[in-house]
């Protein structure tokens, strides 16, 4: 029964949601089930939060390596939880919004979390450079094509690229580097992306059918596919 009930629920809900696409009175079912999922996810947060506290308290108690960071995590967790629950520093009373300007919760978000997130995001610029350097090495034929395409697109987005081929007459304007870059993005690149999208769509259909029919049930903790 431990496996049969989840399999039945998967089959029932999956079939219902497929039908809801074609039956107008059922078309809001998808949104309803998303709402049910959100409610379950909110309760599951207690599991996640509880696990976080348990892991770091254990690390702290056993003085495991880098236990000092666990203090930062636990203090931060307790602080933001208290600021949100008790609405510390809120300009209004306890009934006012938790994200009201001036509240400790919102101030922490604005002046601690947001800059930290931006910092992490900014790392992307450096990683793009290092990844491009590796990807664009002409090791074989495919990599050489990639290098040439990337070079044209990079050049096509700069004023220098425009100036370099401005002399080409209008009747051959496709060979101007900016136009060539546009053509690469709109034709070969888009065609490739669409091919991947078609494959993904079919993959999702196939995977969903395996889940609905109970052929795939590894995610339920059942390895007997």
């Amino acid at each position: 029964m431990k496996r049969q009930i989840p399999l039945f629920i998967t089959f029932f809900v999956g079939t219902l949601l497929i039908l809801s696409v074609f039956i107008p009175p059922m078309e809001t079912l998808g949104e309803d089930f998303t709402l049910f999922f959100d409610i379950i996810a909110v309760f599951a947060f207690f599991l996640g939060g509880g696990n976080l506290v348990r892991v770091h308290v254990t690390k702290l108690m056993k003085r495991k390596p880098d236990w000092g960071f666990s203090i930062v995590t636990l203090v931060g967790f307790a602080f933001i939880l208290a600021a949100g629950l008790f609405k510390i520093g809120n300009p209004g009373d306890i009934a006012s919004s938790v994200t009201a300007e001036g509240s400790w919760f919102q101030e922490s978000f604005n002046y601690i979390l947001n800059p930290l997130q931006s910092t992490m995001y900014a790392l992307l610029a450096f990683f793009v450079a290092s990844a491009s350097y590796r990807a664009f090495r002409a090791k074989n034929r495919e990599a050489t094509i990639l290098l040439v395409a990337a070079f044209i697109i990079l050049l096509g987005r700069t004023p220098f690229g425009m100036a370099l081929t401005a002399w080409i007459p209008e009747s051959f304007s496709i060979f101007q580097i900016p136009n060539l870059a546009i053509w690469i993005m709109n034709s070969p690149n888009l065609a490739g992306q669409r091919a991947i999208m078609i494959g993904i769509g079919l993959g999702v259909v196939s995977m969903s059918l395996r889940l609905i029919l109970g052929i795939e049930r590894t995610y339920l903790g059942d390895d007997r596919a």
């Binding site: 696409v21 976080l52 880098d66 997130q117 992490m120 992307l124 990683f127 590796r134 795939e216």
Partner: protein
């Protein structure tokens, strides 16, 4: 008015003519005063013709909750730019008073009214707004939204889905009888080697299931692959670590790994700390996982699931520590990053095929074969479409244009 005797017919006629002339002059004067009062009294008055032909009609294929409204815009909106400032749509419910429900920009000629009830009737008035006021159309006839039980607009989608589903079901059924050929997927062939490498180096394996929740099919695909490889990890007695950004994923991943360890005959090796929840915040999670990579230096990193901007940060950090990396996602925008930074990448559908591929189970493999029928259909339609479009535009063949239009309507996503 005039009571005359025969003897004085001539006098009467004269009086009648004079009276008629006086009457006419008074009337003309009065009229001229009226016209003067319209034109002269307010030179700033901006008059616009109201919208015409306002029609309220049934909104197709809904659950009796919407009506469509269309009209011919005010002629002054069409001829004089800036004269009509907006269109206001008024609605009367069950013959009640009109209330304004929407203000639209000039040039608009239709509006869909949602969140209605099939039990009520509605009539509408559309008014053109100028600086001087509103010029309203006549009210439409009262109409009630109707419920449709089948969305015929999606008939082609239904038929295509039915065809592909039938093909998949057919191959699932027939797969038991004969062995199906499935091409080798390099990324999946490398899984055993990647796990073995970590074992030989005495280092851990890091599994990252993306940052989406259990309602994303990519996360499910990632967990099914985890189920397959966790058994190998248990057999090799390698350390597995899996930080997650969603509580439900944590619970599901624990169950999956526990079952795999049991199947592999190593239930004693399982403990809850293999899977830990970090945070729902995207970059907070990335900071934590990057920290683990740099400190623990895992020999193998799996990145299988739904990824966004964090894909390159994670993959590049994994690359910098020399880990062998196997990645897979169904987000086309992130695939180039994985291809650049990882050793093996499962591109789109390969992520979904991985579990079936690894299981070697006939029914699961059959579903992959069914997918190929869908691909063949897509290739056939694309080929026909390209040929028809080329011929239609190069030689103006009417029949080919009809083919293009038909294909467009069949595969339209509207």
């Amino acid at each position: 008015m005039f009571n005359c005797r025969r003897k004085s017919n001539g006098l009467c006629l004269s009086i009648f003519i004079v009276a008629a002339i006086c009457s006419l002059s008074v009337s003309v004067k009065a009229q001229s005063e009226t016209i003067d009062s319209t034109v002269v009294t307010d030179t700033n008055l901006v008059v616009a013709a109201p919208p015409t032909s306002v029609i309220a009609s049934e909104y197709k294929y809904d659950d009796a909750e919407a009506l469509e409204l269309s009209w011919v815009p005010s002629i002054d909106d069409q001829l004089v730019d800036g004269l009509v400032l907006a269109y206001r749509v008024y609605r009367a419910t069950n013959g009640g008073e009109l209330e304004m429900i929407e203000e639209l920009t000039p040039g608009n000629n239709n509006f869909t009214d949602h969140d209605l009830s099939g039990d009520s009737s509605y009539s509408y008035v559309v008014a053109a707004v100028t600086v001087s006021g509103e010029y309203s159309s006549n009210a439409t006839a009262a109409i009630s939204p109707e419920r449709e039980w089948l969305n015929y607009e999606k008939k082609w989608l239904f038929l295509i889905a039915l065809f592909i589903t039938s093909a998949i079901m057919y191959f699932i059924r027939t797969a038991r009888k004969k062995k199906l050929f499935v091409r080798k997927i390099a990324g999946l062939e490398a899984i055993d080697d990647a796990v073995g490498r970590a074992t030989e180096m005495g280092r851990s394996i890091l599994f990252i299931p993306g940052i989406q929740d259990m309602d994303d099919v990519q996360t499910l695909a990632g967990l099914t692959i985890l189920g397959r490889i966790a058994g190998t990890i248990a057999e090799y007695d390698t350390k597995l670590f899996m930080p997650v950004s969603r509580s439900l994923v944590m619970t599901a991943a624990r169950e999956t790994i526990k079952a795999s360890f049991q199947t592999a005959g190593r239930p004693d090796k399982y403990h809850d700390d293999i899977v830990t929840y970090v945070t729902d915040e995207q970059f907070g999670y990335v900071a934590h996982v990057d920290g683990i990579m740099v400190r623990e230096k895992p020999a193998t990193v799996f990145l299988l699931g739904a990824f966004f901007a964090e894909s390159l940060i994670l993959a590049e950090t994994g690359n910098s520590i020399g880990a062998i990396q196997i990645a897979g996602t169904a987000r086309p925008a992130q695939l180039p990053f994985f291809i650049a930074a990882c050793d093996f990448t499962l591109i789109g559908e390969e992520l979904f095929a991985a579990s079936a591929y690894l299981s070697d189970e006939p029914r699961a493999l059959g579903s992959l074969k069914g997918q190929d029928v869908g691909k063949a259909l897509a290739m056939f339609v694309i080929l026909i479409g390209v040929l028809a479009t080329t011929i239609a535009s190069a030689w103006h063949v009417e029949a080919m244009q009809t083919v293009v239009d038909t294909l467009s309507s069949v595969f339209s996503t509207k």
